[in-house]
């Protein structure tokens, strides 16, 4: 209770007398939020009959499909992510060290490649069903086979590549939990599994929630994969209303509804969490002693870790390899290297910029609880759930107006592209940094401020060392996501700039999937490096804790 009162008092103070840091944070957050806000601002405009038409015909389908997809992916990623994170952190079984990093590999696999490869494999004319028909002499209608192009197919494939967000954050949270806390549980008579359920899991809740929220927002913002799966969602509807029906007004109404949905999810978590806080009250830690799993239990743990890696990484990679070798045509090494180089440098530049934004705004929010920054930060978070194509249009609109006003030429430059990435992915770095900051008890800030340090020095001297892991995580997540990003890159990019994702789309949209296989494999390959780095960084943080 007293905490709340102080917050409010500090908030009021911050508005009246803002620090330079919080002003900078507000400026950045407002700029990044602007394109999304512009899109949603059309919400009240007259749609010339398009909106009632959508309500009468397709809206129900958009809502139902999007909701099913969100709930399914939320449950799926939470189940897979938390289980695997717990197993590799708290238990010991054969191959645990390998699974620890291998479980991150699906992060390098874009959802649209999952859609391309699994459809190629599992649709009626695909390899699996063709083999079944040939083998058993079946024809159409003689057998039942799950339809891959469906909401169910989308839920499963999305969960298989998005669970690493939960895994990553849950594992970091488990690693940070002091064994002392768990041992208290054990001395009070809880078994290892019950102390997981009643102590570790509730303590990891903010991290798990943040991971699930990221997975759900990525799901909501996806266009390429749901389009390929023939599932109509908000994103396909927004794109179609905006472009084919030429009605930005109807698109904005759909986007507004979608934003409400995201808001409802975030609010639900907030309400459920109530007033609980999750700071660690002590820095004292003891290294974890893993629970050994032998025999059947060890096998079960291995299977639990192997299945997501196989299905979310090995199988799609295998399909792509097969396509590339079998019908890929001649490889043009020079061109592929150029594309990979472009993807790499753009992603690297974007992660530096976006992590900077995340730290600035995240930390700004810690020292300034005033409402303007809070609202801007919320809007920044929405960017991740808005489809890249819509963001691209918002960015073009914003920069177009800016260029016309000032006679500049920012549109069509790399700055425009980086800005689009910032709008789309700042949420990723902001959430990761926030999760890191949430674990640092405010008493540390207070102590440092009492000792006469300004907010900037508190940041660099106290928080920076504690936040290093979160910042690195944010940078690598953004890097991998930018390498995979397609629609905004396509639409906003400068002349003659081509990336791996653009090249994959060029072939795939012309129904030349086999020729897209090589650049697709390179997307995965460029993403694996950071993924392995990520895993190492987390491990190192644990070793340092232990010493």
């Amino acid at each position: 209770m007293s905490g709340r009162t102080t917050d409010r008092a500090r908030g009021a103070g911050a508005v009246a007398n803002p620090s330079p840091w919080s002003v900078a944070a507000l400026l950045i957050a407002a700029s990044v939020a602007l394109p999304v806000a512009l899109v949603v601002a059309h919400v009240g405009a007259d749609s010339e009959g398009i909106w009632p038409h959508l309500v009468d015909t397709v809206l129900a389908e958009y809502v139902v499909n999007s909701a099913l997809l969100l709930v399914g992916v939320g449950v799926g990623t939470a189940a897979v992510g938390v289980t695997t994170a717990w197993l590799v952190t708290m238990c010991s079984f054969p191959g645990r060290r390998v699974w620890t990093w291998a479980l991150l590999l699906p992060l390098a696999m874009p959802t649209y490649l999952m859609a391309y490869t699994y459809t190629d494999l599992l649709q009626f004319s695909g390899a699996v069903q063709s083999a079944l028909r040939d083998g058993f002499g079946w024809g159409r209608g003689d057998y039942w086979f799950p339809e891959i192009r469906s909401v169910g197919g989308a839920i499963v494939t999305f969960s298989l590549v998005l669970y690493p967000y939960v895994y990553l954050l849950a594992r970091a949270a488990f690693l940070e939990q002091s064994l002392c806390v768990l041992e208290v549980g054990r001395t009070l008579g809880r078994g290892p599994w019950r102390s997981f359920l009643s102590i570790a899991l509730p303590l990891a809740r903010p991290a798990v929630a943040a991971g699930v929220a990221l997975a759900m927002m990525e799901t909501l913002g996806d266009y390429g994969a749901v389009d390929h799966f023939a599932v109509n969602t908000f994103t396909t509807g927004i794109y179609r209303s905006w472009t084919a029906l030429a009605s930005p007004e109807a698109a904005a109404k759909l986007a507004g509804l979608m934003v409400l949905l995201v808001g409802a999810i975030l609010a639900f978590e907030r309400v459920a969490r109530g007033r609980a806080r999750y700071h660690h009250t002590t820095g004292r830690r003891r290294p974890l002693r893993p629970i050994p799993l032998r025999g059947v239990r060890g096998v079960a743990a291995t299977i639990a870790c192997a299945v997501p890696v196989l299905l979310g990484f090995a199988v799609p990679t295998g399909v792509l390899l097969h396509l590339a070798i079998d019908r890929g045509g001649a490889a043009r090494g020079g061109e592929l290297a150029r594309l990979a180089g472009n993807s790499f440098f753009i992603a690297a530049a974007a992660s530096v910029v976006i992590v900077g934004i995340g730290v600035l705004v995240g930390y700004g929010r810690r020292i300034d609880r005033g409402w303007p920054l809070r609202i801007c930060a919320r809007l920044v978070s929405l960017g991740y759930a808005v489809p890249g194509s819509v963001i691209a249009v918002g960015v073009l609109f914003t920069l177009g107006a800016f260029d016309r006003t000032f006679g500049t030429f920012v549109g069509g430059t790399m700055v425009a592209l980086l800005f689009a990435y910032a709008v789309r992915f700042s949420s990723l770095s902001l959430q990761t940094v926030d999760a890191g900051l949430a674990r640092i008890h405010p008493s540390l800030d207070a102590a440092a401020r009492t000792l006469g340090r300004g907010p900037g020095r508190v940041m660099f001297e106290v928080h920076a060392p504690l936040l290093r892991g979160s910042v690195l995580t944010a940078a690598l997540l953004v890097f991998v996501d930018v390498v995979k990003e397609l629609p905004a890159t396509m639409i906003v990019r400068p002349f003659d700039l081509e990336t791996l994702a653009v090249s994959v789309h060029r072939y795939a949209s012309d129904e030349r999937l086999a020729q897209s296989a090589l650049p697709a494999l390179l997307i995965v390959a460029v993403g694996i490096g950071p993924v392995v780095l990520l895993s190492r960084a987390i491990d190192r943080s644990r070793i340092e804790d232990a010493t």
Binding site: L27, I28, A30, S31, L34, H53, L54, T57, V58, Q123, F124, S125, Q129, S130, R133, G139, R149, D227, A230, N232, R240, W242, T243, A244, L245, A246, R327, S389, A392, V393, L396, F397, T398, L399, G400, A401, F402, D403, R404, T405, F406, T408, F409, V410, G411, G412, T413, V415, F419, P487, M490, I491, V492, P494, F495, D496, R506, S509, D510, E511
Partner: protein, 341 residues
């Protein structure tokens, strides 16, 4: 726009001030034709004229949005896109600078260009019916309209209503048989579908070969590509699936186009005109059409050998492509109403 963000952008743009140079030796193209031959042609144009071609490829809709947002500052000189619907959207948005060129008007037939010279078609493609040779005799096929016949219940494959080729096909029906008959037809077609509309045109043809349905609707060049493929699996598809050109003896098979127009705010208008003329020369037409197995728009230019026999069929030359574009929105709303995904 809020004041803080303006300041931020000012700072950013000072850092990145990269004014579009006014060198006359370039032409800037936004294109949604993503074929390798197009790029070869741009290179050939560069060699012939010394004018550098700078390119951004993305979907036609997205590029249209980009030009509109860029406004007077837009660097785009020539907008190249596929489908009448997109060309019409660009024209309706006042994007094109009308071009009066006796030379081009003499080369491109009237129904394949905008009446005021806003855009010119570059290639044309036919939307055909494909049938399983084992289950359907070609004599059973006649028109698009007949696809709604209940005898095809559960046997027809077609892609989603978001696809512009389908939108233009429905647009052509709207133009020729009227809204009421078209809606009834679309309802019948949806009732006959073998599966929820999904995938691309090639996917429809492959699904017929695999036995998922007996009839499919797809563009001609996808089938030609399978005919020319050296993958045995593709040739097996061609053996199992036949191509049929509907509405012979009537209005002819529906054709659609890819096309281009000069942008009103073009900084290199003269170069854009030269590129457009270059793309409509005999040599380029041959290459454009062959690269993607389409039909040239300039009469007398021969398409690829695989496609050549199809020239004997009747194509719908009565419905101006411009009309399909005007009907685009009406077509989409109609498809939504009948539950065509």
């Amino acid at each position: 726009m809020s004041c803080p963000s303006l300041l931020l952008f000012a700072a950013l743009s000072l850092a990145a001030a990269d004014p579009v140079d006014d060198v006359s030796g370039e032409v800037n193209v936004y294109s949604s034709r993503h074929y390798d031959t197009d790029r070869e042609l741009y290179r050939a144009f560069e060699e012939e004229t010394g004018i550098a071609v700078r390119l951004v490829e993305a979907s036609g809709d997205a590029l249209l949005a980009r030009i509109r947002s860029e406004g007077a500052n837009s660097p785009c000189d020539l907008y190249v896109t596929v489908d009448a619907g997109r060309l019409h959207a660009a024209e309706a948005a006042g994007l094109f600078e009308p071009l009066r060129s006796e030379r081009l008007e003499g080369r491109v037939p009237e129904h394949l260009r905008h009446s005021q010279g806003h855009w010119f078609a570059l290639t044309k493609r036919a939307r055909c019916i494909f049938y399983a040779r084992s289950a359907v005799r070609p004599e059973e096929l006649s028109t698009y309209e007949a696809l709604a016949d209940p005898k095809w219940k559960g046997r027809v494959l077609i892609r989603s209503s978001s696809n512009v080729y389908n939108q233009s096909l429905v647009g052509s029906l709207l133009a020729r048989v009227g809204e009421e008959a078209t809606e009834e037809w679309a309802r019948g077609l949806v009732a006959n579908l073998a599966r929820k509309p999904q995938g691309g045109d090639t996917d429809q043809i492959r699904a017929v070969a695999a036995g998922e349905g007996d009839l499919a609707v797809a563009n001609s060049y996808y089938y030609a590509k399978l005919m020319k493929s050296d993958d045995p699996a593709d040739r097996e598809v061609v053996e199992k699936v036949g191509i049929f050109f509907p509405n012979q003896g009537g209005r002819g098979t529906h054709v659609n186009v890819s096309g281009a127009g000069i942008v009103k705010t073009a900084k290199n208008e003269e170069n854009a005109r030269r590129l457009l003329e270059f793309l409509l020369s005999d040599a380029s037409q041959r290459m454009l059409a062959r690269g993607n197995n389409e039909f040239p728009v300039v009469p007398g230019v021969e398409p690829d050998d695989v496609v050549k026999p199809w020239l004997e069929f009747e194509f719908d030359t009565e419905t101006p492509v411009e009309e399909l574009g005007r009907r685009n929105k009406q077509a989409i709303l109609l498809m939504d109403r009948v539950g065509w995904r």
